[in-house]
Symmetry: C2
Subunit: 110 residues, 2 copies
């Protein structure tokens, strides 16, 4: 692969793609699902639920945090995470503004 061309697309396209990328792995969906149900959760609980090593879970958490989908606070030796609902609302809004408006009008190919 010569060069990555992601920068040549619009900001909105890049932003949507980045959000989608963050949730494009079942482990990260599972983490978000746990957080949505419990409102907040420490890392260790997530490690126990997922079929992955602690270091791997920590990496997934980091990705979610970098993408802005979750917030994290350290609480003594523990780390407490929760969903950043604003990011979800923004994704929903952007997603729908791109794809939902024409639903009614559409039929099949050609």
């Amino acid at each position: 692969m010569a060069i990555h061309k992601k920068e040549e697309f619009s900001t909105k396209e890049q932003h949507l793609a980045a959000f989608a990328k963050a949730i494009s792995h079942p482990a990260r969906i599972a983490i978000l699902s746990v957080l949505a149900k419990r409102n907040q959760c420490i890392c260790g609980e997530i490690v126990e639920i997922l079929p992955l090593a602690q270091s791997t879970v920590s990496q997934h958490l980091k990705e979610l945090k970098n993408a802005g989908l979750i917030d994290g606070e350290t609480d003594g030796p523990r780390s407490c995470y929760c969903i950043n609902w604003k990011a979800f609302e923004k994704f929903n809004a952007d997603f729908n503004s791109l794809f939902e408006k024409l639903k009614e009008a559409n039929a099949k190919c050609c």
Copy 2:
């Protein structure tokens, strides 16, 4: 990486992740955006719009088709694509059933 562990998650988690993965690249978002606006579109038009080589666009189209997000029909030497809106509705429904129900109740971490 020893083994991929995606199969160890629930079907719903895998399905959501697969959809997200399909839209996790700006080029594929751009393709879907064009299709949403035009209802249907032949491959060549998409190639002209995107800053990518024909073979690369064709690959992205294939991924979107494999993931079920678009349908394609061949029309003589051309290929005509359109969005599979049902897949989008399913994604929206699954996504919201996982993440939307608790929005109100949620505050910040810990």
